[in-house]
Symmetry: C2
Subunit: 486 residues, 2 copies
């Protein structure tokens, strides 16, 4: 036991001085939970997948997984746990990149995937009501068939659940057009740590009656309550989508075309993504894909446009691209529209599969930061220089330039502590110096909670701790994550 | 004194059982405040305007107005008040329609208008940073000149301040396109009731580091802290605006054209407003304006479109209008674009001046509710029937149909208690039955706090009270507003 604990101490990035084994689950507890969620809702064997995070960097020791089907079951489960002093981690798609949804110790895993009933979609307003365990891609398809789209889109859409998306305030690819979940989520139902059901299920776009409590749960990473139901505003699906991939010589050119494209095509622009040469190489070489353009280049921009009037949109796009070509701001390009759906998806996949490609190198050190555009790419070059004498394989930068959100990824054959300590806390200090965010969209989870001070002042952290204490006085939910341990 | 108190008891809608006169301001206090904000920052005479709300329904008895110029001054003021047990109401433009920014008793008025420095506008990202006392219209003009627009627009823009807009989670006319302030505000600086400065001034669109505390202040109506600085994302200004006024025979037709227009013109649609015949009459007759169309009709829709490519936008609009005419969904219409700016503003003014026109009747009972579209207008007819034997002059409905937000207004020559008790609580019960919101955008303030239970469950109200206690344990800020008195 002690050996296992020590291994964890070495693995984990944050201080374990506060570490202790949580209250153990007894046979009586398992019997009680079986009575609540039914025999099919309880699992005690073969829990490896639930104990391991997506990046495979953290291994928990949970001995119990519960699969509730209803808000009432979640309420009874939480009430029981709270009474008994048991700890719990809520797991949706378990796609967290900061080990936010994996047990640290022996927390009970509350698996939300069975709560996947879609309740309604109002086709007059576009308001979708669903249980929180619905898979994002299932919801996307459901609303697509009815003339709408989800207001956000993620690479993990095939496995992530909407409840987890809210809990982590997921950003993703449509953010530049449809904004944050803080704007598009209209209502939530939440089970509080003591089992109380908090019904904030508004289906109205506007409701100024008292403090907007639902906002606290969006981005709280499962530490304040269990989101069980969601009401969310879906934009109308525009009839036509076009995606274009452009290649460029420099970051400076990228900034210039970003400015021109958003000014001239703002009615249509749904996403504006950038990748550097090594990001694309991670897909082309590591995943054995053909290069999407004839020749390599230093930078790539992938822009997506949507409109009802395809001809007009594409003629506007052509005009703009011709201008950019004649000004020598772009070197090459290609585009696809969804008339040829396979080609369209294939072209998009060069951006979506970067993370997957990078993992093939072995180990991926993932950072997801916000930085002002004038220093947005500089950090990639600074980091290459810092890491040049280590065994790192790639330092790549890609991301949502329209949102100032950079995914800085570094790979090596296997986890290498020297690489990590060369990156951190240097990177966080750099981000703090430029008033960026150390976690733009991934959250803090277990891997980044001790670095919160680089993005928030002490007064804010103190208030967050008081709020946690108010909502979860017994620290039942996702203990020792998000907020730093003292 | 007792007589004056009794008058207030009759005027005010909510229970005054908890009423007591707050700690009095002494000459020593005034001296101390003078030392903090300077002699020009203190006013003790001629305070009527600050003691009276916009609708002139509530009169407070404040004897002291403070005009801080900086966050440091606000911090010192709050710290002093908190220590002394003094009460305070933050006043921005004092345009609240629920008496949210007016003293109830002798609260000190903290006037924010001198804190009106615009700090920066990043023209790459559209992020504006300003002190909270800037007038909305000034900001709109400032960002317009630099190629952007504010993400929201209100009738009160000439006098309301951005800090007050955030504190009340203002909605307004661009909501349908640019969404809620919960999405577009990126950062705030807040002075807490004990004088602590909470710096949450992110200038990044994405920041998932801990609980999103700024969201709590948006819509808290000045009860949790004093917003002193704001960072907000401004959309690009599209080059051309067109506004169209269409007349229709029935609410059913209105729903049909709403659906068609948003599906066919969604790339361009910036607002979709409705007015009934009596709403327009309040402008035409009470304000002596010419009728904007040749003939009267039952309903009017005012839609606003924006685009970079005017010709294409207007040809699309013409096509859609022709279709609606041939389907006999609309009877008449006119439009104006901002090439002829005066005509453009004139046409828009028929919607913007309704509230002003109604006030000319004498007294206006204002309700701002969210309702599902299938019962959205029904309440106006129900209310006309209920009030037909009273001395009411008009029952009108207008508002943001795109956001399910109805402004239900009733007028009479002077305030008439019988009319009020015929409306309330019946209206709130109706809204609760249809799961709407009793205050879509105006907030609760003093006039609606006791009705919160119609839109929020007891568990939520209990949590709100705990949050108020956490942030403001001595109940210094805007006491006895927003949350119901026990």
């Amino acid at each position: 036991m002690f050996g296992r604990l020590m291994t964890r101490l070495r693995e984990c990035s944050h201080s374990w001085s506060a570490y202790r084994r949580y209250t153990s689950v007894t046979a009586e507890d398992v019997t009680a939970f079986r009575a609540i969620v039914g025999p099919n809702g309880v699992q005690t064997d073969g829990l490896d997948a639930y104990n391991t995070d997506w990046l495979k960097t953290h291994t928990g020791h949970s001995e119990l997984v519960l699969r509730p089907k209803s808000t009432e079951e979640v309420s009874s489960v939480m009430s029981y746990m709270n009474e008994r002093g048991l700890k719990c981690v809520i797991q949706s798609g378990n796609t967290s990149l900061v080990a936010g949804s994996v047990p640290i110790d022996n927390e009970i895993v509350l698996l939300m995937g069975r709560m996947n009933a879609i309740e309604s979609l109002d086709t007059a307003s576009g308001i979708l009501v669903t249980q929180s365990g619905s898979v994002l891609q299932t919801l996307e398809e459901y609303v697509n068939e009815r003339g709408f789209i989800m207001p956000y889109d993620l690479g993990a859409k095939g496995s992530c659940l909407i409840g987890g998306n809210l809990a982590t305030n997921a950003g993703g690819l449509r953010f530049i057009r449809y904004g944050s979940l803080h704007g598009s989520v209209l209502g939530v139902e939440v089970v509080l740590p003591d089992g109380q059901v908090l019904d904030l299920m508004s289906q109205m776009r506007k409701d100024n009656t008292g403090y907007d409590l639902k906002q606290l749960f969006i981005g709280s990473e499962g530490t304040l309550g269990v989101i069980t139901k969601v009401s969310i505003l879906c934009p109308l699906k525009l009839k036509h989508q076009t995606v274009a991939l452009l290649s460029l010589k420099s970051y400076d050119h990228l900034l210039k075309i970003y400015d021109k494209i958003r000014r001239q095509l703002s009615e249509y622009l749904t996403s504006f993504e950038m990748m550097d040469a090594l990001s694309l190489e991670a897909v082309v070489k590591n995943l054995e894909q053909s290069h999407p353009l004839g020749s390599h280049n230093e930078f790539y921009a992938m822009i997506e446009l949507s409109a009802n009037d395809k001809d007009h949109m594409e003629s506007r796009l052509s005009q703009v691209i011709e201008e950019l070509m004649s000004e020598q701001l772009i070197s090459d390009g290609t585009y696809a529209n969804d008339d040829n759906h396979n080609r369209f998806l294939k072209l998009k996949s060069y951006r979506e599969r970067i993370a997957e490609g990078l993992l093939r190198d072995g180990y991926s050190y993932k950072y997801d930061i916000s930085l002002p555009l004038n220093v947005f790419y500089e950090i990639v070059e600074v980091m290459r220089e810092r890491l040049k004498d280590t065994d790192c394989l790639k330092v790549v930068g890609y991301g949502h330039i329209g949102d100032c959100n950079l995914h800085l990824n570094i790979t090596s054959k296997a986890f290498d502590k020297r690489i990590k300590t060369t990156i951190e806390p240097f990177l966080y200090e750099y981000v703090a110096k430029h008033k960026g965010s150390i976690s733009a969209e991934h959250g803090l989870g277990l891997m980044k909670n001790s670095y919160l001070k680089y993005s928030k002042p002490v007064e804010a952290i103190a208030l967050m701790k008081q709020i946690k204490k108010l909502f979860d006085p017994k620290n039942t939910l996702n203990p020792n994550k998000v907020l730093p341990n003292d």
